[in-house]
């Protein structure tokens, strides 16, 4: 075991996975000599060569489209989208193509690829270097969408993703790259895709959160614990497939649900969580299902005051907890 950041966990997992299996290959903009704009692939070029650490043209559609072809022909490509905000030119290749290769061919073909995308705000990235994109992809059957938020989960799920037989969107919160540290096993290991984890036990209400918001939720939970409010914090880790059982069990126990996400509220991923619970755990609920999420403006501004205005804060979460606990 070693103490690592999320960034190191990704770097080391990719490195070991490439060492172990020749089929694994990295591609994206600036992944080579520069080692990626976040330095996730630092030193990969020297070790694995330019044919397995492919600096692509500035062309996201091609990054994914070419990746689909590689996957069809026996490789296990890991495609890097430099910022999640720039995944949209590849939307058609992901949604119409990658997600359906298996289904549309009646299981004759498949698309074992990983698309890594650094997402999320709070880093002065402004309108186009801050976005959350999970809602678009979690809605699409045929894709798995992972959003691990600790070094351990990140390492285990990335390795599982690389060897998953189907396409996986792997979301990495930029602000968490270096913010959190944690123990990670020295050897490659897999975590099951589709399993969430209770990151904190509690009985007064359930918080559902991932990414930066998970860590903010844990902080808010600490704060209110001083006043005897015991919050259970559920980290889904895998957005699809969702660990529905864990969610329903937790709500059954606490009878209250608070959903937190950084993305724009309306039609965001958390809406589905509310819908599931409002159907399948309705009788267990003692209070309205609440959400703390990004406001309905296109994305977060660059300037400090307006960026802060956009981002759900620990204070916002704390307020929501207290209000719901009092209900």
């Amino acid at each position: 075991m070693a103490e690592k950041t999320n960034l190191q966990a990704i770097h080391d997992t990719l490195w070991a996975a490439m060492k172990e299996d020749e089929r694994v290959l990295i591609m994206g903009e600036d992944v080579g000599a520069k080692g990626g704009v976040f330095r996730v692939t630092a030193d990969f070029l020297e070790e694995f060569g330019e044919e397995r650490v492919v600096d692509t043209p500035l062309a996201e559609l091609a990054i994914v489209g070419v990746g689909i072809g590689m996957a069809a022909n026996g490789l296990l490509p890991v495609c890097e989208i430099q910022f999640a905000d720039f995944i949209h030119p590849a939307f058609d290749q992901i949604v119409s193509e990658a997600a359906r290769i298996r289904y549309r061919s009646n299981n004759h073909w498949s698309c074992p690829m990983v698309i890594r995308a650094p997402y999320g705000g709070g880093i002065h990235g402004a309108l186009y270097h801050s976005q959350s994109i999970e809602a678009f992809f979690a809605h699409v059957p045929g894709l798995k969408v992972l959003a691990p938020s600790t070094p351990y989960d990140t390492a285990g799920l990335l390795y599982s993703a690389i060897h998953d037989p189907d396409p996986v969107i792997f979301l990495e919160h930029k602000k968490l790259y270096r913010l959190v540290k944690g123990e990670v096993p020295d050897k490659l290991f897999k975590l099951p895709i589709g399993k969430g984890e209770i990151k904190r036990e509690g009985r007064d209400l359930t918080i559902f959160a991932y990414g930066l918001m998970l860590h903010q939720a844990l902080e808010a939970a600490e704060r209110v614990a001083a006043d005897g409010i015991e919050v259970e914090v559920l980290d889904p880790r895998s957005l699809t497939p969702l660990d529905e059982e864990l969610l329903l069990d937790s709500v059954k126990k606490t009878s209250k649900l608070l959903i937190i996400y950084e993305d724009n509220e309306f039609g965001g991923y958390g809406a589905e969580i509310a819908a599931i619970v409002a159907d399948k755990a309705f009788m267990d609920l003692d209070a309205p299902i609440k959400r703390v999420a990004g406001p309905m403006v296109p994305a977060m501004p660059y300037n400090g005051p307006q960026q802060d205005w956009f981002m759900p804060s620990v204070d916002d979460i704390e307020d929501a907890i207290r209000e719901l606990a009092d209900f």
Binding site: L25, E51, R52, V54, T56, P57, A59, L61, A62, V64, G65, V66, G67, I68, G69, M70, A71, A72, N73, G74, L75, P77, P89, D92, Q93, S96, E97, R100, I101, R102, Y103, R104, S105, N106, N107, H108, W109, S110, P141, G142, K144, P165, D166
Partner: protein, 346 residues
């Protein structure tokens, strides 16, 4: 600056611009080309009939483009090479090994359709046995995918080549640009075949692009570009063979543009009288029909008699009839099985 090559484009001929022996083909090869083209045509005609009879829901056709498809496929190595056809590529499918029965199963939307189990419309080709990758409706998405398939072959040191087709309309999409650029940079072994049939549904080439030749774009990617008479199966064979040889030698991709013509409406949902004259269509229905052209070549060169060719034709038709009758009787897909294969089943 690289110039684009032009084969068979200087004059209009009744037979072929190319001699089969000069490009290494035997009499048997030529008759096989003829058989494949006729088989494709007869399957197409009968497919149209069954659709008109209401037995199938949809019909789309490569009629008029048989020389382009068969000539190209014949220069490749089925079993070893890869294929990403587009929806008019019935000829490619038959040439790489799919049977009329395979294709008929898709027409009748039957359970055993090898492309998709009738999940997709007919002509959304795919066939694992013959390295035909699954295809979809959104135009041109297959182009970067072909670059990826070829990249993987090359990375492993194999000399397999990847065929990918699209229309001149499809060449307008970003997928075309990004796919060709990637393949050129990495010298991936791809044959990019643009089947330029002058129309994208109703939109004529002059509103699709401000150039005469899609192949001229090869210059901007740094790969060879070739324009070929797409009604001339031997000419198409010749230029494809050269491109395939280059690709196998590690010299990278080629963009081939075959000038052809769609002699039928876009599909069974289209009425082409809204946007083109009958006169325009007629030339391509008669003297410029690729089967007429090959027949003329064969007779001119006395490779077979009219009777022999008619016999091949009759056999092709029988083959097609048998396949359609058989397919019609096959079981339909099972409703609940629509739930399968979203992901790998455990």
């Amino acid at each position: 600056m690289i110039e684009i090559e032009r084969v068979g484009m200087d004059e209009v001929v009744a037979g072929s611009h190319v001699n089969h022996e000069a490009v290494g083909l035997t009499r048997e090869d030529v008759l096989e080309l003829f058989r494949l083209m006729v088989l494709t045509r007869r399957l197409d005609e009968r497919s149209e009939q069954v659709q008109r009879q209401g037995k199938t829901a949809f019909y789309i056709s490569g009629r008029g483009q048989e020389a382009t498809q068969i000539g190209c496929a014949y220069a490749m190595e089925p079993g070893k090479d890869w294929f990403l056809p587009y929806y008019r590529d019935f000829g490619i499918m038959l040439a790489v090994g799919a049977t009329p029965r395979d294709l008929a199963l898709a027409l009748f939307a039957k359970k055993d359709d090898p492309a998709s189990g009738a999940r997709q419309m007919p002509a959304h080709f795919g066939h694992r046995d013959y390295n035909v990758f699954t295809s979809s409706s959104p135009v041109s998405t297959q182009i970067p995918q072909a670059a990826g398939i070829a990249y993987a072959s090359k990375l492993r040191g194999e000399d397999a080549v990847c065929y990918v087709a699209f229309g001149e309309g499809g060449s307008s999409k970003g997928d075309f640009h990004e796919g060709l650029n990637f393949a050129a940079i990495w010298k991936s072994p791809v044959i990019f075949l643009c089947q330029n049939n002058r129309y994208a549904i109703s939109v004529g080439q002059e509103k699709q692009m401000a150039v005469e030749d899609v192949a001229s774009r090869a210059i901007g990617y740094g790969m060879p570009g070739v324009v070929v008479d797409g009604q001339d199966v031997l000419a198409v064979y010749k230029v494809t063979k050269e491109a395939v040889d280059r690709a196998r030698r590690g010299e990278g991709p080629t963009l081939i543009e075959a000038k052809t013509y769609r002699i039928v409406p876009h599909s069974s949902d289209d009425d082409d009288r809204l946007y083109r004259t009958r006169e325009e269509v007629d030339t391509y229905r008669t003297s410029q029909d690729p089967i007429v052209r090959l027949r003329t070549y064969i007779l001119e060169n006395e490779l077979a008699t009219d009777e022999e060719l008619d016999h091949i034709d009759k056999e092709a038709l029988a083959h097609v009839d048998e396949a359609l009758d058989w397919a019609e009787q096959q079981p339909d897909p099972v409703a609940e099985e629509a739930a399968l294969y979203v992901f790998a089943e455990a």
